[in-house]
Amino acid sequence: MLHQIVYRWDPDGLVGRRGIVPVATSLGRDELFGWHSRTRLAEAVTMDYGDPACPASSVCLLDTPLGVALVRRAFTADARRQRLNNSAHVLVGPRDSIAPFDAIAWGSLDASAPGALDPDRVPAGYGLRPLADERLAEAFELAAGGLHERARRLGDPLEVFTAAVLRRPRARVALLPASAEDGTALLWGLQHLLTALLPGPWTFSTFEIDDTAPDPKGAPRFVTLPRTPAAGPGTRVRVDLTGRDEPFDTHRELARRMVKHYVGEGWAGFHRLLNTPTEVHTLPEANRVAEIRSRLDALGVRQETRTRRATTGVRAEPPEAGTREMPRVPPRTAPAAAPPAAAAATGPIDPNRPEVRCPYCLDLIRWNENDLYERDDRLRYERVDLSTVTDPVKRYDRMRATFMRCPNPAGDEDREHYLPTNYLIHEPPLVIGLIGDGLSGKTHLLAAMIAEIDAGGLRPYGVTHLPVDPEQHLDYLRNRVDPLRRGTMLATTVNHQGNLVEFADALLLRTAGRTRPIAFFDVSGEDLARGGREMQFLAAADAFVFVVDPVVAVDLPELRRLTGDGEDPFGAYRGDRTFAAVMDRLPREAELLAQPVAVAVTKSDLIRFEPPVDAWLGSHPPRPGRVDPARMDAESRDVYSFLYAHDAVAWLSPFEEFRRCTMHFVSATGARDRDGRFPGGIRPRRVLEPVVSILAMCDMLDQAGVERVGV
């Protein structure tokens, strides 16, 4: 609880004197007299009254023998009535009851601060009520974001200031020249930067014109001066915030790097610097500076690589221009020699965005607003600058069709690749790979899945969808889904021929307030079996759909006529070669693989009258839109027993190797093709079951019991 005193011009006041005197308070008479006469409070309130540089509002935190006092001074000059007025709202409390952070925040909010009074209108007397401590905490919540932003814009002065404090940690510092607003933001940034390094209380004033006044205690005190005072420096260290006469030394270097990190990485990044792996302020005081330095070193290596690649990649390569293909990117207009602080101050990489693993080069990247591209109709990527587009409606609209060039921090991928903005700015994507040998029906299954999702098949589960890359999605619908719907068989997926393996389609799924991209990879069985570096997306995949082709796996009379003549009759006993190739490739952290997996027995329409397929293929869930773990378990058991009974045990290896696995009978077309066409049209059956199961196992469905799926 903090007591309040209001100072303003009054002919009488509570102390019986004319002038700028206490007129209202929540204190008792004796206490008020004590504060007014035995501390420097009155002086702090009236200080510099009438100075031409006097700001409309300034804040001062005082350490006095009676406790701590937070003074917010309001200065008004009424030119018409030729009157100057100075009033103040003072909060007083025991020592350490007001933290510098709270004081800066409360003072910076002026009249909008919680609990603020208008000192010129408060009724005089002893009728004020004390202010609850929570008001200061509220002020902190209100002001912190804005102050942080302002502090980040003051990179250069902050660097000089920080260096000076690092140099002489216990000194009293005078900052000049600085306005009261800048002073507030600088102190805020300083507190951020140095809390971990220099513990202990300190006081400040955002406006004074003389720094020779003695400070009562030894605590560091920071005052902001609008100009260099005429008198000598006294006991204070004067810091010229323009940095003109400040020395360049190790402190300045450390300050520069800290401030750069603070300005460039945003709050979360800075927080990480201080608090991971251990919190710096828990270390012995002597080690803290060295620890910060080593952490910055570690970060710097990564940062340097990133910037080097960004500059070499973006700036034209004139010496090699003839030998290489035309640079697809116009040269960056910004001069390369821009001051690092200014460049960093725009903060292109928002640390609040998730780190996303690029499915092409496997590097972890973050969305960078300064590295955006748009794709033209000839599929070339053109750089765009959206920093001038601030209107949220327009910005959203432009943004949804943009791409970011993957910076490939590891530098091991020569081919440029671009990722849609939507892929990077939401929760980390869910990458699903479809695994199965050639002709097993992956492509048809995926097209049927996308068709069902596109038709709203996930809505009963509370999941809505948007395309990640609208053009690519339309393209996929046009080239895959529509022909299939018309009853045309889709062509087999071509080998990638050394090209980058791209996801077939990606959707943004929204459920229960979350948005997560889901990307499907469909590559040819030939490529999967051969492996190679191109298949490295497998390592980034979060889930798999293993496609079992009953024509190959199961020996049934009605399937025998469909198998080709030249096929290896013993291949079925070994199972699908792509299954083994994929499972061998995945990193193993435990006995079993942890990725959620769905096994889909495709072309189930061919065996639709075979038990137990007949019980499943035409069945509908008793409660649409509800995940039923027991039902999924029953279906998995039936798939297992079906494959088991038909000597297709080798095809059950995904179930044995992955910890969470469900198995399903699906049919992408619902009918057998006749000479490359489906004469009766297609009737996809249960194609969403594997997707729903994977979503449930990835905790993407907001339903009870999803943790029991596939365990």
Binding site: R608, S636, S641, Y644, R659, R660, G680, R708, V711
Partner: protein, 363 residues
């Protein structure tokens, strides 16, 4: 002869065509056949039916196929046809080629992926029972009832719910006293969600109320309604006890409990047969070899293995070895109501429910 449907494949010689289909064993068959004329359409049935004569061995079949239907009705008709093929194949597999009850329709082949999906049934010349409503002699009435409930018992044993037992789908041949049940397009496997509602007048209250699991005892309701209507000749009331059944002493005893609204409280078909003093074809149960049982055990074993090797959150506690649930203590409630017994009496397993092919039927 001569009345060949123009939609039916490519004609070879005059009146002679090739018909390719899949037989119940899954083999592809192609036969030279000749088609008869379409049967007169039955109101409410979407299929076109005609006779087929196999020219190679002289056997005759009935072909049910989808006619020219608009897209909306076609979807429903296709589902019906698929259901019928599925259920008839299930019956064929359950009973095998030698023990197939003569009362149940028997599939001879199917082709569901073609331009015009169809189903081939073995031909049984039986007129619908509605032709003989109220005309049966007493002895014949008794034979009809026995045959009907024996058929229901067969269906129950096979785990199949017909779902649409009516005087149309139940056929009766007076000379041979032969009963024959056809039209399985509303059928379902017991425990599955019901596919569709059969004829409402004959349906049990459960199906009338709405979707739910198919229950063999709903067939019993319909069969009793049919038996009452056909033998007594009096009309029945939808979803209710037939009017006047209490005045029929014999039937009143026979139908004791059959018209309960709750299917669990109806007697089984075996009990009806006992009341009729008709031997139950499956007194000892109908033990079947389940080719999938071993795979199911393998699944459970593999799952237990995985749970042991890598426990994850959400997996059920291991059976037997895991932490036992503490026994619940029954304190006498303050109101003085006697506590319920800790172990409620387990209901007797109902006769005739066997695990056949497919899922465990939830009770």
């Amino acid at each position: 002869m001569g009345l060949v449907s123009p939609a039916a494949g490519r004609p070879g010689e005059a009146g002679e065509e090739k018909l390719g289909y899949t037989d119940p064993e899954g083999r592809s068959v192609e036969r030279r056949v000749e088609f008869g004329p379409d049967h007169p359409p039955v109101p409410g049935r979407l299929f076109r039916v005609r006779d087929v004569r196999d020219l190679e061995d002289g056997s005759t079949f009935v072909q049910k196929r989808l006619g020219a239907l608009d897209a909306r009705r076609r979807a429903g008709a296709e589902a019906g046809l698929e259901t019928e093929i599925r259920v008839l194949l299930r019956l064929a597999r359950t009973f095998g080629p030698h023990d197939h009850p003569r009362e149940l329709a028997r599939i001879a082949g199917h082709d569901f992926d073609g331009v015009e999906p169809f189903l081939l049934l073995e031909s049984v010349p039986c007129p619908p029972a509605e032709d003989v409503v109220g005309k049966l002699l007493t002895e014949e009435q008794d034979a009809f009832r026995r045959a009907l409930f024996r058929t229901v018992r067969h269906l129950e044993t096979a785990g199949v719910v017909h779902g649409d037992l009516t005087p149309t789908s139940v056929r009766w041949q007076r000379e041979q006293r032969r009963l024959y049940v056809a039209d399985f397009d509303h059928a379902a496997l017991a425990g599955e969600p019901r596919s569709s509602l059969g004829t409402a007048l004959w349906a049990a209250p459960g199906p009338l109320r709405g979707p739910g699991p198919a229950d063999p005892r709903d067939d019993l309701w319909s069969a009793a309604q049919v038996a009452y209507h056909v033998t007594i000749g009096r009309p029945v009331r939808q979803g209710m006890v037939p009017a006047g059944v209490e005045s029929q002493g014999l039937l009143y005893d026979l139908f004791q409990g059959v018209f309960e609204v709750d299917p669990q409280r109806r007697p089984g078909a075996a009990e009806l047969l006992r009341r009729l003093a008709e031997p139950d074809p499956y007194v000892q149960g109908h033990a079947q070899y389940d080719p999938l049982a071993e795979g199911r055990r393998g699944y459970e074993a593999a799952l237990q293995r995985k749970r042991r090797r890598m426990p994850v959150q959400g997996q059920p506690p291991p059976s037997g070895t895991g932490p036992e649930t503490p026994p619940t203590v029954h304190l006498p409630p303050p109101g003085g109501i006697p506590p319920k017994p800790a172990n409620p009496p387990v209901p007797e397993p109902r006769p005739g429910r066997f695990r056949l092919f497919g899922k465990n039927q939830p009770s």
